[in-house]
Amino acid sequence: MPAKNSAEKLMVNFIDCAGHGVCAELLPEAITMDEWGYPIVDPRPLPPSLERNARSAVSGCPTLALRLVKAD
């Protein structure tokens, strides 16, 4: 995971995503579900207030399809 002081954003690896939906439950402020059960992720850098929940969403994904990457 990127260093704490750099801005981060969410990214989904759709090849591994199976549409469990855990991420949208844990981070509804940045993740919603499409009509087929797959996550629509806010592409903007995450505000610091959401960082902790974002990390639980990332570790909560049963297929580790959700990632936090550096926002460029």
């Binding site: 690896n13 759709f14 090849i15 591994d16 199976a18 549409g19 009509e35 797959y38 629509i40």
Partner: protein, 443 residues
């Protein structure tokens, strides 16, 4: 094939165009022009540099960009692989991508058929530049010519003269639309199906067999082979300043037959489409490309990304198709999108769900039996799926679809009334008929 037509638009391409074609044999040559002796006679011997990395500087000065569709600066890829090999102390691998899985394109197969030694030269030079010990040439079987046999013979000719320093392996791509995609290509070479994989870090750092891997389109390698002989200034003597060089274009006009032409970048689109009859349309960039209306195509557009950005199109792999007025653009688009949907790898939820639905809705629109919301649905699904996949297949497909809905908007309205302006129902755009049915079709 035809030599490039003269361009007198802005003077930057005047006398240099007479030295085209560069990659393809001159038009008066026939038959044996592809052999090693003829190749050496025309182009000279393979100019090895005898040191890694040197060629990269020339490629940078030349401004060569990839001819596989993405137009990525070649020197940056070479540099990335070279640096990764150094940092990780791993010997890199080089792959020539001749999969050409786009049905409307024929330029790579033609290049491999007519100038295999240029591609093979480029492969050796790229391997030398990055210090690779493995070279693979990946081609697609389904073509008019037996490219595989010719390449095997070409490799034998070179082996007889000990020309290649890195032995070249031939590999065959399965007949799938995605098989030319970089990670799908690697997946296949590693023994799996030709479906994309999630690759972080990039394959230039960790690719085939965990080694830094360079994947270049076969045409790109052919240009590289000539730049190594004639220098970057020569390469830049045609084309535009921002987008230098020549490229192979696949042109289809009213008879639907593909013609490969080597043209300078920046050539007026008009010389490729010909005069447009009223009711025509132009498809630029193949099945992940963009439809242009006749009035858009009549603007002073040139074949380069800078000019085409005005109509939200890209050069891509240089496919220029003129749809004659007697065909229906919606019907053709629906046929193609059905094929594109069936070619989805089916790994990613959004693509798997959206593409078949878009294809079905488009078929309804084309058949004049669409529900009133069909267009809205297509737009919504297109928006949902763009950027949400493991590769750019859904992005390209929806770009194609949306450009069709824009360009053929009047036709959409006609179809909603149960009418169609086409007078021929003969299929125009080339669409393969065999769909993948099992895992076996992807291997």
């Amino acid at each position: 094939m035809t030599a490039a037509t003269d361009s007198t638009q802005d003077g930057s391409q005047s006398s240099a165009t007479t030295e085209l074609p560069r990659l393809l044999p001159p038009p008066e040559n026939k038959g044996d022009a592809w052999g090693l002796s003829a190749h050496i006679e025309r182009h000279g011997r393979l100019p090895y540099r005898d040191r890694e990395g040197i060629l990269i500087q020339d490629i940078e000065t030349a401004g060569l960009t990839g001819r596989g569709g993405a137009a990525f600066p070649v020197h940056r890829k070479l540099q990335a692989v070279f640096a990764a090999a150094d940092k990780r102390r791993r010997t890199p691998k080089v792959i020539a991508n001749g999969a050409e899985s786009e049905p409307a394109s024929d330029k790579d197969a033609t290049l491999l058929w007519l100038s295999p030694h240029l591609v093979l030269d480029g492969l050796q030079l790229a391997a030398e530049a990055v210090g690779a010990d493995t070279a693979i040439l990946y081609t697609h079987a389904n073509r008019r010519h037996d490219v595989g046999s010719r390449l095997a013979e070409a490799i034998r000719e070179r082996a007889a003269r000990s020309l290649d320093r890195v032995p070249v392996q031939l590999a065959q791509a399965p007949a799938r639309f995605l098989s030319g995609q970089e990670t799908a290509l690697l997946n296949h070479l590693a023994g799996g199906p030709a479906v994309p994989t999630f690759n972080l870090p990039r394959i230039t750092e960790r690719g085939l067999g965990n080694a830094p891997t360079l994947v270049q389109n076969v045409e790109t390698l052919a240009h590289l082979a000539l730049i190594a002989r004639k220098g970057p200034r020569w390469f830049r003597s045609v084309g535009t300043d921002a987008e230098p060089g020549s490229m192979l274009a696949t042109i289809r006009r009213a008879d639907g037959q593909p013609r490969i032409s080597e043209v300078p970048l920046g050539i007026p689109l008009k010389s490729l489409t010909g005069d447009l009859a009223p009711g025509s349309a132009v498809l630029l960039g193949g099945y992940h490309g963009t439809w242009l209306s006749e009035s858009q195509a009549r603007q002073q557009l040139t074949l380069d990304n800078h000019s085409l950005a005005e109509v939200e199109a890209r050069v891509g792999t240089g496919i220029v198709i003129t749809l004659p007025p007697d065909r229906c653009g919606l019907v053709e688009t629906a046929r193609v999108v059905r094929y594109l949907a069936l070619e989805s790898a089916g790994q990613c939820g959004p693509c798997l769900n959206a593409l078949p639905r878009i294809a079905a809705a488009l078929a309804e629109v084309a058949g004049g039996r669409a529900r009133s919301q069909a267009i809205e649905d297509i737009e919504r699904w297109s928006g949902l799926v763009a950027g949400r996949g493991g590769c750019h297949h859904p992005d390209g497909t929806t770009r194609f679809v949306r450009s069709a809905l824009r360009t053929f908007a009047p036709e959409v309205r006609r179809h909603q009334r149960g009418q169609c302006s086409a007078t021929s129902s003969k299929p125009f755009l080339p669409v393969p008929q065999d769909a993948a049915r099992s895992e076996h079709d992807w291997i």
